[in-house]
């Protein structure tokens, strides 16, 4: 198995993580906030980061791993530059979110949960984002796109592909 940890992180990233750990050390219930910050810093939570968090907060690694795998927000795989989340809340679903997922899979040539070969996009489905009035909805990073139809997908993607060029 190829270990994902081989992607090297910078000293600065580790320093940032240690600062976060210091902030929550000895504070009850700090594990989840620390993991949130760690994912912001590194983009995902590979084994070596989990070990560092476990040692820093003095909790068993098994507990850290248990939490990471329990919550869908935490990822052990690196994600693309942009994460697309198609809302699969009820309002979006009854207004055709399944077609949006299909259009994206076709356009990006990946399945849900995968990342494009060039590392630009990761395709995810999300829980209700609470923009039901605009259903169906998708998010790219923190941007929200509403009132979608399958044929609007290429246009949405273009915003992010352009910035790459």
């Amino acid at each position: 198995m190829t270990e994902t940890c081989c992607r090297s992180f910078s000293e600065e990233q580790y320093r940032d993580l240690d600062k976060v750990i210091a902030q929550y050390q000895g504070k009850p219930g700090g594990l989840i906030p620390v993991l949130h910050q760690a994912q912001l810093i590194f983009g995902y939570l590979p084994k070596e980061i989990q070990i560092r968090v476990a040692e820093g907060l003095n909790v068993p690694l098994s507990e850290v791993y248990g939490v990471v795998t329990f919550y869908s927000f935490f990822s052990q795989q690196p994600r693309g530059k942009h994460t697309i989340g198609v809302c699969l809340g009820t309002a979006c679903y009854v207004k055709g979110a399944a077609d949006i997922v299909e259009a994206l899979e076709e356009e990006l040539e990946i399945k849900v949960g995968e990342t494009t070969a060039n590392g630009d996009f990761t395709l995810m489905v999300t829980r209700c984002v609470g923009a039901c009035g605009l259903a169906p909805v998708l998010t790219v990073g923190e941007d929200v796109y509403g009132r979608l139809t399958a044929d609007k997908i290429p246009e949405v993607l273009k915003h992010y592909q352009k910035t790459e060029a």
Binding site: G29, V59, V67, T90, C128, A131, C132, L134, V144
Partner: protein, 597 residues
């Protein structure tokens, strides 16, 4: 304080943000400056005004004129016509969806006219980032009153007398919860706000946190005083970054104003708040799972009793209420239990916020007195079903609820009546479905949701919902058998009786409710291998009408599976065995000769 002759309220709710209200806001600021109106007109970015599908929306006071779908390019005209010359920009006014005709005034539009706003009293009216605006609308008066004039027992008595019930779903009397927590032995106690609004289709808590965060902060401080807690936590789901940001801002402002922290308002009472962000687990909306998550663990529920009121966060007595429940508290303290009891029904006093979404003309948030009918909500406030389609069902209670049908339209809505109709209040998501929605598919959708979100701790939920889902998938693929319905019902009862927490116990509800109300639709899938709503793709056939087909051959060329054949100028045929039902042929046919049956 400066007086302005006009206020422009620009909705900064999540819906309007995604349709570009920021650019509208910026343009207003620029144009007002350019026209030297800065001393006369004040622009305010508010929380969600409620009509999400019409965004970006603005309301201009003192007249209360409502403009919809405003783009930055419209702003100059609004400033010059409305704000300078006093003339309406008619092309941006609201139009009645069914009967037609324009309505300029905000409070005359059906969607707003029929509402009674208590929990949402400030949402869409004030700038949530400015504490003074909250204070100007009687904010923190209730806290002051409680701390200086009431004993904790008196506070609890008011809440008990008001009859307020938990707005998060189950409808447990709030005052009792407060009393249990107060009476529980222990020095250290906690107040927790459940803002893990996980029901798909419900977004009222998000709207309160984004549009009026101080009402929650004030209520939590009141609760802290009543139950004897000095620390509170707000558990917000990670999907709501804006809510977290506005709440953080509000907590800081409240501290700076002495409404949180040590010796609040100069009294002996100290109380502070911390935000904890969830990490994407629906089950954390269940209170014991939420507490586990707050403690930094996997969000798995545990059996009750002991209830959180006696053993909650870190084993200490803990009061947990949801956002909307808290938002009602300051209003009840200020205006009294009797006032609150006059609104709503006898057993469910007050109002309820519903998130109206799905196949309905006006989508968004509505707060109505308990006891209104579904018909009023969907057809009056909601403006009916779009595209002249027929109403089929309204789903309430999310994955734990059920479907209401035509026969329930005139039933007054409260906690009990919804349960009697085979659904539940839940957090107030109300998703309208029309004839194009397949109820078997909807049941499958919810089961897929609960199956995915099941924490796996107890067997009935982990395995039982999986078996139910497998059966439903089979039915939607045309492989169902008649005995499947019986099996589904039997499994459902077992899971209801034996699952550990509310998520598992209520997971079968969408299936039971759809079987009860739409048995024929299930039978059509099972016996006739047909999906009447034409949703379940495996049960559909693409056919070419021999009358309409001109034999152009476009479909045959476009078909990725080469499943279409025929002679030029003669009607073509689809080989059903080879057809993968991708729908390309329908899209490409210039004569509309291909249809789904």
């Amino acid at each position: 304080m400066k007086l302005y002759r006009a206020h422009v309220l620009v909705c900064g709710g999540a819906g309007c943000l995604s349709t570009g209200c920021k650019a509208v806001l910026d343009r207003f600021t620029d144009e007002i400056k350019a026209h030297n109106l800065e001393e006369e007109v004040h622009v305010v970015e508010t929380g969600c005004i409620g009509t999400c599908d019409l965004g970006p929306v603005i309301v201009i006071y003192p007249e209360g004129i409502f403009y919809k779908e405003v783009t930055p390019d419209d702003v100059k005209e609004i400033v010059e016509e409305h704000l300078l010359k006093g003339r309406l920009v008619t092309r941006l006014l609201y139009e009645r969806p069914v009967s037609g005709g324009q309505i300029p005034f905000y409070n005359e539009i059906d969607f707003f006219r029929k509402q009674k706003r208590i929990a949402l009293r400030n949402v869409g009216m004030i700038n949530p980032e400015v504490i003074e605006e909250y204070i100007a609308r009687d904010g923190y008066i209730a806290l002051g009153k409680v701390l200086t004039q009431y004993t904790p027992e008196q506070v609890i008595q008011v809440i008990k007398d008001s009859g307020l019930r938990g707005r998060g779903g189950a409808g447990f009397p709030t005052g009792l919860k407060w009393e249990f927590t107060m009476k529980a032995p222990g020095e250290e106690k906690y107040v927790v706000c459940n803002a893990d609004e996980g029901d798909p289709g419900a977004f009222m808590d998000r709207s309160v946190l984004e549009g009026d965060p101080h009402s929650v902060i004030e209520a939590m401080a009141i609760a802290g005083y009543a139950v004897g807690a000095s620390q509170g936590y707000v558990y917000v789901r990670a999907e709501y970054p804006l809510a977290v940001q506005r709440l953080e801002n509000a907590i800081e402002k409240a501290r700076a104003f002495g409404m949180l922290g040590k010796n609040i308002l100069g009294t002996a009472f100290s109380f502070d708040l911390e935000i904890r962000v969830g990490a994407g687990a629906f089950v954390c909306g269940e209170e014991t799972a939420l507490l586990a998550s707050l403690e930094g663990k996997r969000g798995e529920p545990r059996p009750k009793p002991p209830f959180p009121a006696s053993q909650g966060l870190w084993g200490k007595p803990t009061l947990i209420n949801n956002v909307e429940t808290f938002a009602n508290i300051p209003a009840i303290i200020n205006q009294g239990a009797d006032w609150f009891r006059q609104i709503g029904t006898k057993n469910s006093p007050g109002t309820k916020v519903f998130a109206l979404a799905g196949k309905v003309n006006n989508t968004g948030l509505v707060e109505v007195p308990m006891g209104v009918t579904l018909r009023e909500i969907i057809f009056e406030l909601g403006g009916g079903i779009p595209n002249h389609k027929r109403f089929k069902a309204a789903q309430t209670g999310g994955p734990s609820g059920g479907c209401l049908t035509e026969k329930d339209l005139d039933q007054p809505i409260d906690y009990e009546s919804l349960v009697a109709a085979g659904s539940m209040m839940g957090s107030g998501g109300l998703i309208v479905m029309d004839e194009d929605n397949c109820m078997v598919d909807v049941a499958r959708f919810f089961l897929e949701f609960t199956q995915d979100e099941s924490c796996g701790k107890c067997t009935p939920c982990r395995i039982g919902t999986k078996r139910m889902l497998e059966i439903l998938i089979r039915i939607t693929q045309g492989k169902g058998e008649e005995k499947d319905l019986e099996l589904l019902e039997e499994l459902a009862q077992t899971i209801k009786n034996t699952a550990l927490c509310g998520l598992g116990q209520s997971a079968p509800n969408p299936v039971l409710s759809t079987i009860q109300n739409f048995r024929d639709e299930y039978l059509a899938h099972i016996r006739d291998k047909k999906c009447p709503a034409k949703v379940c793709r495996a049960l559909l056939q693409y056919t070419i009408s021999s009358e309409l087909c001109r034999g152009c051959g476009i479909c045959a060329r476009e078909c990725p599976e080469k499943a279409i054949s025929g002679e030029p100028k003669e009607p073509y045929f689809i080989n059903q065995e080879a057809c993968i039902k991708c729908g390309v042929c329908i899209e490409k046919c210039p004569f509309d000769a291909i249809s789904l049956i």
